[in-house]
């Protein structure tokens, strides 16, 4: 399958669809995070430089500990936060969740971020890149071991409005799949050019037995059927 979507089943028996994020989106997120870490490091070097001149060795010690914590626990701290994502991931609309769609646990977050070292091998995150490209769910090694998934955050589809179209009852009963196809076309109509909309609507002409009518007429009638199927009545 070309579609990369993972279904997580809940105890209530419904399937939640997770959309794993691929290499490019995650690389961008990673890059943003690295920039932020550099910025923090430079800012902190400034502060700790002043601190070291006052406190001496203690300031340097805090600096070392700070660098340690920043390097190893920057992602852990953010992933366990409410957003479930580092600033870079949030900027790219990504989020880290468990395989079953639940929020990430501290153990899993720690696992996936400590195993980053293995993902880095042999150089520049080559293992991570290969693993992400080979797997449909785009997991890096750390994700595999921690049973976590980096997913795109949900974006809701626009509601079909088109209130100006007059609802029109279909001349014959339509199968559920056909119904949803017609409604989906109506939902997309505002984003399409007139020509493309006419082309697509022509494919649906048989539902009204309209093959012989002019293009614009067919489109208006198909959208009318969509309105009727949604539940609007004249």
């Amino acid at each position: 399958m070309l579609d990369s979507s993972v279904a997580a089943e809940t105890p209530e028996g419904i399937l939640l669809e997770l959309r794993p994020a691929g290499l490019s989106a995650r690389f961008c997120a990673f890059f943003i995070d690295e920039l932020i870490k550099w910025a923090i490091t430079y800012a902190a070097a400034f502060v700790f430089g002043i601190l070291a001149s006052v406190l001496g060795g203690m300031g340097v010690a805090f600096w070392f500990i700070f660098v340690f914590v920043l390097n190893w626990f920057y992602p852990v701290a953010f992933e366990l936060g409410r957003a479930g994502a580092t600033p870079g991931k949030r900027a790219m609309g990504l989020k880290v969740v468990m395989d079953n769609g639940l929020p990430i646990t501290p153990a899993a977050s720690l696992t996936r971020n400590l195993l980053r070292v293995a993902d880095f091998l042999p150089f520049l995150y080559a293992s991570a890149a290969v693993s992400m490209l080979l797997r449909a769910d785009a997991k890096r090694l750390g994700d595999i071991a921690a049973a976590t998934l980096v997913v795109h955050q949900r974006r809701t589809a626009p509601k079909a409005t088109l209130d100006m179209v007059v609802p029109l009852s279909p001349v014959r009963p339509l199968a559920p799949r056909d119904q949803s196809a017609v409604i989906a076309l109506a939902a997309r109509a505002p984003t399409l050019t007139i020509e493309r909309l006419n082309e697509l609507a022509a494919l649906a002409a048989p539902i009204q037995g309209d093959e012989s009518r002019p293009e614009a007429d067919v489109t208006r009638r198909v959208l009318g059927v969509a309105q009727w199927l949604l539940g609007r009545r004249a």
């Binding site: 809940t10 010690a61 501290p106 409604i183 939902a187």
Partner: protein, 326 residues
Amino acid sequence: MTPLHFEELYQAEWQELDAQVKLILAGRNDSHDRVPIQGERVAALYRRACEHFALARARSYPRYLLDRLEKLTSDAHQVIYQRREFGIHRIRQAVLYDFPRAVRAHAAYVWLSAALFFVPAVLVGWLVYKNPDLVLSVVDANTAAEFEEMYSDAADSIGSRRDVNSDWVMFGYYILNNVGVAFQCFAGGLVFGIGSIVFIVLNGVLGGAVAGYLTERGLGETFWSFVVTHAAFELTAIILAGAAGLRLGHALVAPGRNTRLQSLVNAARESIVIVYGLTVMLFIAAAIEGFWSSARWMPLTMKYTVAALCWIGVLAYLSLQGRRAR
């Protein structure tokens, strides 16, 4: 039933659930002027929403409706099934039971890891002791000289480089360095265990070479009195990190009846507990190494007594703590 009718009919319930979920997510901090959250109501609404979602999907309702219900149910799902793993109670539980038990559950890996460290260490140490020139095949001449200088009688604080002779600096440096080494030993396990083996053996060889070389040079007393106390925590922690890494590697190489993937996930979940513990051990080691081990004014008998107590304490903790039912 048309989609619009469906939406109109159940809209109120969805909105109520959405509001409650938002409350639960947001209202954890401010306790005053908050509408009380009714758990039973949320659960009931959630189950209703799940039914609606399944129905809507089976009836091929329009995308926007499915998206809305999916977002609603998945948000509620996250709130209802989330696990809390924080808190004093959890930490106490981990210190008193989980960590030492996890170590004992991995006893075979711990022994193997210890052997991987000590066999090369003793072997190389003995060779270097017999023939000090061999140290140059492990470290370069500058490093050897640096080590010699660090433990020489002239240094006013043992074990630190000349230019950074503050206990605090070394404390910070040890944390940065040693915890990093330990994490690498663990993560190396993902390369079928090879990474862990390489890291542990390398550390063993390096430690053995330095120890043999310095002992041969007549700096043995300074060196051993320096390392022996914090080694109780540091060496043990590195060996435990190697053991956790070996567990990962073993899970990949010999998954048994599980799939390789499931085997790895199980291994990671069980061995990460060891990594929690050893991180804390390395912080303790860094504190001892920075402030206690380097103190030159301390009488040697005192140092060795404390060292013995540390070793006994660590080994007893790992082998005995939490054996009884909680």
